[in-house]
């Protein structure tokens, strides 16, 4: 009798686990995994096949197969016309990409890392971002700027900045910051099909990470809505909101807190502009506590924006504690390994802050 009820419980738990894993993504089949890199690669391939106007340009995207191998195999398949190696001249090739988009093509412009996008930032913001508005809705710019963003490992200060706050600051741009392979696939496809300029912030450290993929996520027309967050893990005691690699940090922190009886709701923003405040506010009105977690710098960051919006909403009155931010330390990134590790929030940092908010030791 006992054995039967145990296996019944096992079944219950397993089903619960499985359904939790595939919250809002459809059926998950055990064993269908895909790295973020492959997810991006397949998205690029499928969108290029679907629409002749889509082409890729950037440094090393063609013959080298991509500095991070994201565009592997595409030059071999599509040739010189559609996968173009550029000289190391960001301002020039970003401008060319924007002009091509103004004249009807659908470029995917890669910045080897978004640190180099600063050389071209005028073209991204002033040419791509503002032209539709300045032309009173005549000239839209269907371009995607993509590449790795934020901290990597051991690449020091000039190669480690997160540009989420800078780009999401600007009306006229759409800004995406995916976490999982499903995010990467669905959102890159959506970005390429979108008629507005999209800044697509990837993460180098996630490229090699495999994630479960549903059948739906692997289908050719799988598109995720830009501007909608995903609840990676439901919970009722505390809301953790983050984007990109920091989502992982939150999930790990959630595991640690779960062992002490604290159930965190982990929200993966997926997009930074628009910001899905509906999902955040709904969660906070349930949990009454909020921590935003990001790897970027604290001042004027993503967390600052989320907390400000919570303050301005009715949900403020639902808070049982101040909404706080966990962010990268306010320092340029050092090369020294132990210091680098200390400059970015780790799961124990989130746990420590959570316990303080909850009044726990």
């Amino acid at each position: 009798m006992a054995a039967l009820s145990t296996s019944k419980n096992m079944l219950k738990v397993t089903t619960k686990l499985l359904s939790r894993r595939c919250f809002s993504t459809g059926r998950a089949l055990a064993g269908q995994q895909m790295t973020v890199r492959d997810a991006l690669n397949s998205a690029l391939d499928e969108e290029m096949e679907r629409d002749d106007r889509v082409f890729i340009l950037g440094e090393e995207v063609a013959m080298y197969d991509g500095a991070y191998k994201v565009s592997r195999g595409l030059w071999k398949k599509y040739g010189d016309k559609r996968v173009i190696d550029t000289p190391i001249t960001e301002m020039g090739f970003a401008g060319i990409a924007v002009g091509a988009a103004m004249n009807g093509l659908r470029p995917v412009c890669e910045f080897m890392t978004f640190n180099f996008s600063m050389q071209a930032i005028d073209q991204v913001i002033n040419s791509a971002g503002k032209t539709f508005y300045m032309s009173a809705g005549e000239v839209n710019v269907p371009i995607v700027f993509r590449g790795p963003n934020g901290a990597a490992a051991g690449v020091a200060a000039q190669h480690s900045q997160c540009f989420g706050a800078w780009y999401s600051h600007c009306p006229g741009l759409k800004v995406i910051s995916p976490f999982s392979s499903e995010d990467a696939r669905g959102l890159l496809k959506a970005a390429i099909r979108d008629p507005d300029p999209v800044v697509f912030l990837e993460n180098e450290l996630l490229y090699g990470t495999p994630f479960e993929m549903s059948d739906e996520a692997l289908s050719k027309d799988f598109v995720l809505p830009i501007g909608k967050a995903k609840i990676e893990r439901p919970g009722q005691h505390l809301t953790l909101v983050s984007h990109s690699k920091a989502v992982d940090t939150c999930l790990e922190a959630a595991k640690l807190l779960a062992s002490e009886g604290v159930e965190c709701e982990v929200i993966n923003l997926r997009s930074l502009r628009p910001l899905d405040m509906d999902t955040v506010l709904k969660s906070v009105s349930k949990t009454h506590r909020l921590i935003t977690v990001e790897q970027g710098w604290p001042q004027s960051g993503i967390g600052a924006e989320i907390c400000a919006r919570v303050m301005e909403s009715e949900v403020f009155f639902q808070l049982d504690a101040p909404a706080v931010r966990v962010t990268g330390a306010d320092v340029p990134m050092p090369y020294t390994k132990s210091l680098e590790v200390a400059a970015i929030p780790l799961p124990p940092d989130v746990v420590r802050v959570a316990k303080k908010l909850l009044g726990l030791k």
Binding site: F55, K81, I84, T86, P87, T89, M91, G92, F93, A94, G95, I96, A97, V98, G99, A100, A101, M102, N103, G104, L105, D122, Q123, N126, S127, T131, F132, Y133, M134, S135, A136, G137, E138, V139, N140, V141, P142, P171, G172, K174, D194, P195, D196, P225, I226, G227, P274, E312
Partner: protein, 398 residues
């Protein structure tokens, strides 16, 4: 002013016309075309250049004359509106440079593209926007070609990609526009214009490289009016031979005050680019009578004598007018009639541009996105969101 060859041609044409005169009811005898010699072109890395013997028909001449005059009048009206404080912010006038725009447009095919910086009121008109669309955009009213939301520096029309405020940024954009033409396999070119000041921008050299490397049909046009704001060319550039600055990109120097020379050089450039030879640089030597913008009197860095000298001896409209009259392409009266017609049109447009209303407040959050993902746009204060609207026709939607 006319070369012996031109005079000979005109005499022959007149003789022929006189012989045929009894068969026409008109009592006037006009030449149907006239030929002229331009100043020699200077070439960089080119074996052959544009022809210096140019011909213009009567109809063409009248069209170009009217176009240049309209631009001049629009600019004069703009200057006055600015002084009345009805135009605000920036206002960069093209007066003196008319032959450049009209000459290039005369050579362009209907689907050739052009992009420039901010001295673009004349180009906007040439690319199909009536004077009212230009002037009302300057006064920020709803009849403006961008509903008043862009202003002086952000005007657009089919195949005209603005209107760009950041010096030099328009040149990579122009290469991109031409790149798209090449990608699609149509035989259209893009004229990417910049001034002698912008000519030192790094991004221009970046795209000289890519345009040449990839054989992009882009014609780089340096409109050298001698000054980048208040800094003369010689004080800003170690090399002022702008048509050679493309180095491995061949170049042509053109007398930018001669509309027929500009047209001829532009024709040559289009032919060159569309035959797959890649990009070309064209330097048009021209002059602006006004300061850099309306906030610059234009006299602290150059003498009034210099400005006067150009006005009196090299004005593009006056010299073309003289060409027309002296070769009997049209009479002085006929040109006067065109003057009156243009004045009337521009005066009327100016009147309307002054009295027209602005777009309503609901359009503040309009057309931020072609495919908006949120209905609400944050206002100056919380709790009072604006609502995004879509009004324009978004040429690159699907």
């Amino acid at each position: 002013m006319m070369s012996p060859t031109a005079r000979l041609v005109v005499r022959r044409l007149n003789q022929r016309n006189q012989a045929l005169a009894p068969f026409f009811t008109s009592t006037k005898s006009f030449a149907t075309e006239a030929s002229f010699e331009t100043r020699p072109f200077k070439l960089h890395k080119l074996e052959e250049g544009p022809k210096t013997s140019v011909t213009v028909t009567r109809d063409e001449a009248l069209k170009y004359y009217k176009q240049m005059l309209t631009i001049r009048r629009i600019e004069t009206a703009s200057g006055n509106l600015y002084k009345e404080k009805i135009i605000r912010g920036f206002c960069h006038l093209y007066s003196g440079q008319e032959a450049c725009a009209v000459g290039m447009k005369a050579a362009m095919k209907p689907a050739d593209a052009i992009i420039s910086a901010y001295r673009i009121h004349g180009w906007t008109y040439l690319m199909g926007v009536p004077p009212l669309g230009v002037l009302a955009e300057l006064t920020g009213r709803k009849s403006g070609c961008a509903r008043g939301k862009g202003g002086s520096m952000h005007m657009y029309a089919p195949h005209f990609f603005g209107g760009n405020g950041i010096v030099g940024a328009q040149v990579p954009l122009g290469v991109g526009v031409a790149f798209a033409s090449k990608y699609r396999g149509d035989d259209n070119v893009c004229f990417a214009l910049y001034g002698d000041g912008a000519a030192n921008q790094g991004q221009i050299f970046e795209v000289y490289n890519m345009a040449k490397l990839w054989n992009v049909p882009c014609i780089f046009v340096c409109e050298n009016n001698g000054y980048g704001m208040g800094t003369s060319a010689e004080r800003a550039a170690a090399s002022t031979t702008y048509y050679t600055r493309g180095d491995y990109v061949p170049g042509i120097w053109v007398d930018g005050m001669d509309i027929l020379a500009v047209r001829e050089a532009s024709r040559f450039a289009i032919e060159y680019c569309t035959s797959g030879k890649g990009p070309l640089v064209m330097e048009t030597a021209t002059y602006r009578y006004s300061g850099h913008s309306m906030s610059d009197p234009g006299t602290s860095y150059r003498t009034r004598d210099e400005i006067q000298e150009v006005r009196q001896n090299r004005d593009p409209i006056a010299s073309f007018k003289e060409k027309i009259i002296s070769t009997d392409l049209a009479s002085a009266d006929e040109l006067k009639a065109i003057d009156a017609e243009v004045k009337k049109e521009v005066d009327e447009a100016t009147r309307k541009a002054k009295s027209d209303s602005e777009i309503p407040m609901e359009e503040l959050p309009a057309d931020i996105y072609a495919a908006p993902l949120e209905e609400e746009v944050r206002n100056v204060a919380p709790w009072e969101p604006l609502r995004h609207k879509r009004i324009g026709s978004a040429v690159n939607l699907n």
